[in-house]
Symmetry: C2
């Protein structure tokens, strides 16, 4: 049955089974808004950039058709592959003839660019054919292949992938010959192909793809990544995956690798793979995850930091890392049925991920810090959201996830249906059809109506978010409330999640957040933007008993929101702070008693930077 599911992840085993993207219609709320602007603005912009950024022209060069020089990064092909995947899922969600046409045109170009032996990478074919597979530690050749495979799987499941799948299989077969049959032990410096190979196996049942994925995972930690460049730790080659206890190095690399590890477990039953991945998940969540679900504490190497190294201002929290984290958590959720993974997906979706895109879908963040300190930014990848990037890994990655959001809402198992994310819409799962009515996350009321139902009893499982301390639902050990009955068409079940605003404190070992608090409501992390405050944002302080109240609002340019007003204080101006020989260190502390009561206004973090480019902070000092 799983072969007929139209979605990015269709495992053969696991505690839960996924639904097709088009089996979940999303009718509104933030998810609905994101899908609308993604279709109307982001995807057309991305398609246009495929030409402008060099991705398509590079492939023409490889096909011997164009003129000029290769442009962009060695992984420039992957932009097109992610764009194709976004287009395919969008066609699956809501068909439009333009989408298969773009896929067909691209697949034809790829077929012409592909070497007769199946190899395909415009950078190496055009600029250094003699170095093919010779620089695997940083070449991204398998990384690009992986994105091609995912695009081909998506297009095939969306019904428009025949030629693209042929291209993908020829490349996959080429990899299999070289790295499985002929026994080359090379691994790519950037994991990604592992999860893609497993999905290609799921689609095609060609077992060598799964075997190659397993071999690539088993080969990590054997010193195959050279010390040159960023080194083994950066690329998770410092330890075998079954031995590593903590996420290290480049965040996106680690997180895609984890997705591949769980994928191989799901197809082979190798428990040691699930076990090591869950061990690192627990470590990652306890020590290296931002309150937004973001990952990667360092600009240097786009990397994880040490345990408890979680700076708000210099957090990297790359948009791609949020996407990779959602992929990994979704695999863990379906493998184990445990709601903690759905909780983290929700936190990541509504915060680290959603913040990556402007409200109108035309601009993107690459880096998602929790504080904007000043107006001056040295790094082109910081500051305001931008339409595109020289390294444009994020925008098409964002688009493919938004198009496929329906995949992440609900699952089935032998007992019935589980709802993981609360969105207004319709969920179809075999003989069951549910309508979900809710204004979540602005309001906590959710009403589920059974429209179609098979005969006999089945269980409706509803995720109880860990933050919903006093809602209507009582969770089981996995974090779900179960309602088992012989449902009749028209039956409804209504419940409330607890959206009382929360003042959240950091663990005392997070040095960078000491003495601060953040505000959350439901799944949303809030932030203060300068534009909403009286006085300097950096003079604002909360108190441990700060009163928080909600205000319905329309944010110009960003649509519907709920603001939170906090009874805060404004500290005496910074000029009152003692200094020492001009330095900002002194034996006496600032006299903060002379503060002024003030109302501070917070907006959902994901909606920040939709007005001006002013200061922002998620974590605010506590008096």
């Amino acid at each position: 049955m799983s072969g007929f599911v139209r979605g990015p992840f269709v495992p053969s085993t696991g505690a839960q089974r996924p639904l097709s993207i088009d089996d979940v219609e999303i009718h509104g709320g933030p998810f609905g808004r994101w899908q609308r602007v993604n279709r109307e603005h982001s995807i057309p912009l991305g398609i246009e950039q495929m030409e402008r950024s060099g991705a398509v022209p590079n492939l023409r060069l490889a096909a011997g058709e164009g003129s000029g020089a290769f442009r962009g990064f060695r992984f420039q092909d992957s932009d097109l592959y992610k764009q194709l995947e976004a287009v395919a899922w969008e066609h699956c969600r809501l068909p439009d003839d333009a989408y298969p046409a773009f896929v067909a045109e691209s697949a034809a170009l790829l077929a012409r660019a592909q070497r007769p032996d199946g190899y395909l990478n415009s950078h190496y074919q055009v600029t250094k054919p003699d170095l093919i597979y010779q620089e695997l530690d940083y070449s991204h050749e398998m990384y690009c292949a992986g994105h091609l495979f995912q695009a081909a799987v998506a297009a095939t499941r969306a019904g428009c992938g025949e030629e693209l799948l042929a291209v993908a299989r020829r490349f996959a077969d080429h990899l299999v010959r070289r790295f499985l049959v002929e026994g080359d032990d090379g691994i790519d410096g950037h994991p990604e192909v592992e999860t893609a190979l497993v999905e290609l196996y799921r689609l095609t049942r060609e077992r060598s793809y799964l075997e190659l994925a397993g071999k690539l995972i088993d080969n990590r930690g054997k010193g195959l990544i050279a010390e040159r460049g960023m080194g083994p730790l950066y690329a998770q080659d410092h330890l075998p995956v079954r031995e590593a206890d903590t996420a290290v190095g480049h965040a996106v690399r680690q997180l895609y690798l984890e997705a591949g590890i769980v994928d191989v477990y799901l197809e082979t039953g190798d428990e040691s793979l699930l076990e090591c991945s869950v061990r690192r998940w627990e470590d990652l969540v306890a020590y290296k995850t931002a309150i937004t679900g973001g990952h990667g504490s360092r600009h240097d190497g786009e990397a994880f930091g040490e345990r408890y190294e979680l700076p708000p201002d210099r957090a990297y929290n790359e948009s791609c890392a949020a996407i990779a984290s959602i992929h990994w958590n979704w695999r863990l959720l379906l493998a184990t049925g445990h709601g903690r993974y759905a909780d983290l997906i929700e936190r990541t979706l509504y915060n680290a991920f959603a913040a990556s895109t402007s409200a109108d879908g035309t601009r993107f963040f690459y880096v998602n810090p929790l504080q904007r300190r000043a107006d001056l930014f040295e790094d082109a990848y910081l500051g305001r959201r931008r339409e595109w990037f020289a390294c444009a890994c994020c925008p098409p990655n964002i688009m493919r996830l938004v198009s496929s959001l329906g995949h992440y809402v609900a699952t089935t198992d032998d007992e019935g249906l589980s709802v993981h994310q609360y969105v207004p819409g319709t969920i179809r799962a075999g003989a069951i059809t549910l309508d979900v009515e809710t204004d979540y996350p602005w309001d906590g009321r959710v009403r589920v109506t059974v429209r179609d139902t098979p005969g006999g009893e089945w269980t409706l499982k509803l995720r109880v978010p860990a933050w919903s301390a006093s809602g209507d639902l009582t969770p089981d050990a996995n974090g779900y409330a179960s309602i088992r009955r012989a449902w009749e068409p028209g039956d409804t079940y209504t419940f409330d999640l607890d959206l009382t605003p929360r003042l959240v404190l950091p663990h005392r070992k997070i040095d960078a957040l000491r003495g601060c608090a953040a505000i959350e409501r439901g799944p949303l992390v809030y932030c203060f933007e300068q534009i909403d405050q009286d006085g300097d944002l950096d003079d604002l302080a909360l108190t441990p008993d700060t009163w928080l109240r909600t205000v319905e609002h329309d944010l110009p340019g960003a649509g519907r929101t709920v603001l939170i007003e906090a009874d805060a204080v404004r500290l005496p101006s910074a000029s009152a702070v003692p200094v020492f020989g001009g330095l900002p260190y002194a034996t006496a502390s600032a006299d903060l008693q002379d503060h002024t009561p003030v109302t501070a206004t917070a907006v959902p973090y994901y909606q920040w930077d939709n007005r001006d480019g002013g200061l922002m902070r998620v974590w605010t000092p506590l008096m």
Copy 2:
């Protein structure tokens, strides 16, 4: 007269005049220890590395003598130049025939490598002669030239520089022809040549060198640095120097540029240059300087951060930035006579700079953070001190400063003699000879004995450190206590500086240090190392009224020290801290009431990492 001073900086004007390195004999204390290990261990190690690291072999290739490929960075030549400068000043300080021999041998090689037209850069000559001066935004060609000029000035003033000076002048004349006479407006992406050209002018009185330095400074901020690579802000090309208000980009670049700016002011009298540099100094000290005097808050780009962005763990504080800061502050001190610059030199010397080298002079830090969080370091440039680096800008830079430390102790003016740094030893300035007896910085007592004195009155000026709140000396507006009298041989003046340990608090706007305190005593910043504590360092907290007491001690491997014992508390273990769905964020804070009294032991920061590789922190949470 200034032409006869044997030291790195001999300006024609200014409020104060420098002394020769060999006019200040340092007999002990930390400065004396650093000079001893520098001579016995560091300099021999550096000379050996000139061969091993490729610096000398590269020049042989350029001379058509060697075989093999160019090794290392495009600025590899500069390692040899800094090493030559260190050797020259060491010879000036305490002659040894081996030093002039090394200089002569190197100069001969450089002369053979130099092109007939005067150009000299092994990287470009060997690997890409067609791109000479075509990649100035990152080529380091003028940067390397500047270090050659400084080495030649040092060797000449030390009496062993004839051939090296000839090489330097030929290259300088080549630069003058291209960039002054022929009117090429290029600037080097890495400032350094400006200050070096001015010093070469001071030595040779060849005015075109000064004019070129002025032109290079005036040309910054005109968009000559391309957007490619690290971009204009990184290389201080974002604004003309007279318009920029704050230090930005690569810290070492900014600080060397400032030294050149003050140098040009001192020779031309262009007050607008002094004014803009002082404006940035005040901004830098108030907002972007670590308590150790370190500069550069970001690994990414080895760069300054935003105002108040001063993380302890991820601070970069490159050793070279400390050296460049001392160079700049020394120029400002001599230009203005203001003690605040000597204060910052002292803070930087005893902390950010001194920490860069192991107690035995055989290992070096490139990066000098204020916190070591764990044992696992991804970056080869972090962790323990290392014998050498692929990018070895720091070690020979450290050596040249240690050899020339005598230059930074005292100055003269028409009124008499000023003592800026308190070291046991002898100071000769014309007809005046002083003996200084002190156990500073371990003890605050200083006794100055006049051994030789001219007839009539003159003024002895003694710097009163800004931290010496209740010492014997009363400072004037410039921070100096003046004793004017008709001194007789044998006269003594004894005073005490206040070395009471201080608990120091950060400005409330430094987010990364909120809720923490540091310990200082005299010029020394202290830190806690794990090895000295009972229990986990990260469970330690101080209280606002923590009692601090000093303990005389010998630190194994690091020699004499004074420890500080603090009445601290041990917080309940981290496992008692609430978490939220596994994340380190919760609506309830840790219960810290169940803490245990404990004695915490601090060591001077500069002596850290001389025992094990354990955790360290300068800033410790306050209960």
